[in-house]
């Protein structure tokens, strides 16, 4: 499959850490490592306790890497407007979130949007993604 041009941006910008995030976030992800991933959806995995976006990201040298991005639970996602078919394999998406502390290609997603700007989703995660279940407007 031909991959669209996609960029991977890792920022080391300062961000305010949550006062005390849910352990599954704070033990695993670093709120001070924001990440923006643009790539192609391989699968929206609709499982509890967290749904996952599996995607392929091509960097500037053309190297393709697989990233896994944690979302909220399917129930939280559904209550904020997601459906299990909201994203389709091959969709070009942009995920904003926080990178994993262990350095793996893993992130906690805050927002997910289609690259053409048609839809934006709150990722509904229980980490520091804001109010779970709240639609992004």
């Amino acid at each position: 499959m031909r991959l669209p041009l996609a960029g991977l941006l890792l920022f080391s910008a300062f961000a305010t850490a949550p006062a005390f995030a849910h352990h599954s976030f704070a033990a695993e992800f670093d709120a001070k490592k924001p990440v923006e991933l643009k790539g192609t959806l391989v699968e929206l995995e609709w499982v509890n306790p967290h749904a996952w976006i599996h995607m392929e990201v091509k960097d500037e040298s053309g190297k393709v890497t697989r990233w896994d991005c944690e979302l909220g639970s399917p129930n939280l996602l559904m209550r904020s407007g997601w459906r299990r078919d909201s994203l389709k394999k091959g969709d070009v998406i942009i995920v904003n979130g926080s990178a994993a502390k262990d350095g793996s290609n893993l992130a906690n997603a805050k927002t997910v949007k289609l690259a053409d700007g048609t839809r934006v989703f709150n990722a509904g995660s229980s980490g520091d993604a804001g109010t779970p279940g709240a639609p992004v407007q």
């Binding site: 599954s24 033990a27 499982v47 509890n48 306790p49 559904m78």
Partner: protein, 270 residues
Amino acid sequence: MCVDKVRFNSLLAPAFCLAFCCLTPAPARAQWLDYPTRGIPRNPDGKANLSAPAPKLPDGKPDLSGLWLGDQWSPAGRRPNPPGNARPSPPEMFPWAQKVFEERRASQIKDDPEARCMPQGVPKASTLPYPFELINASGKLVMLYEMYSLRREIFTDGRELPKEFISPSWMGYSVGKWEGDEFVVTTAGINDQVWNVDLAGHPHSDVLRVTERFRRVDFGHMDIQVTIDDPKTYTKPWIMPVMRYTFLPDTDLLEFVCEKNIDPQHMVGK
């Protein structure tokens, strides 16, 4: 139904019906997600009237039934604390408990069994970003939690809590009684696989006794005041910040089976 119109053999009929259903367009209304709640007060615009008076049971006590979501997780946000209920001081722990508390905080509670899909226990299960439902039943109030599909039975048939628990459980054993307009629930017998009584990570021992005072303020709002009494862990009973809930109309609990958590393998703590 298709079975009436076509004579299949009995094995093929279900398969045909399944295929038929899959090809039929889904109804516009999402299954159970936004089904209107019957018999609740509504404003002229059709929305639930959350400030209507609290409903009553036939015996005159407040009716607590319904779906409830913690205010901090709802788009409307948390209501301010009631007067006189400012955030209490941190509880005073005995040295062993302080050590455990600090160790777990230092590792961001990464080894909490909850992260491996185990139940959160009482009262922590009531502090999470999912609704729970209260259902009146004969001799008990049933509490169904959406998260991890947990449930509690709060017995109101006059029984006392056992003196000893031969099998401490994840969600403990609960009895409830009315004190005026407050439903007072006492819970004990919570096992040691439940690490914390709250999201901050406060530990407990086998003598933990949790008191939850439920008060339905009006139709749309309920408070639960929790007291933690654990004389092996804390120097004296302590009161948590009041937990505030808003009625969640026009939806139902959804199933939540914690089937696949890949987080623990990536949890590094600090």
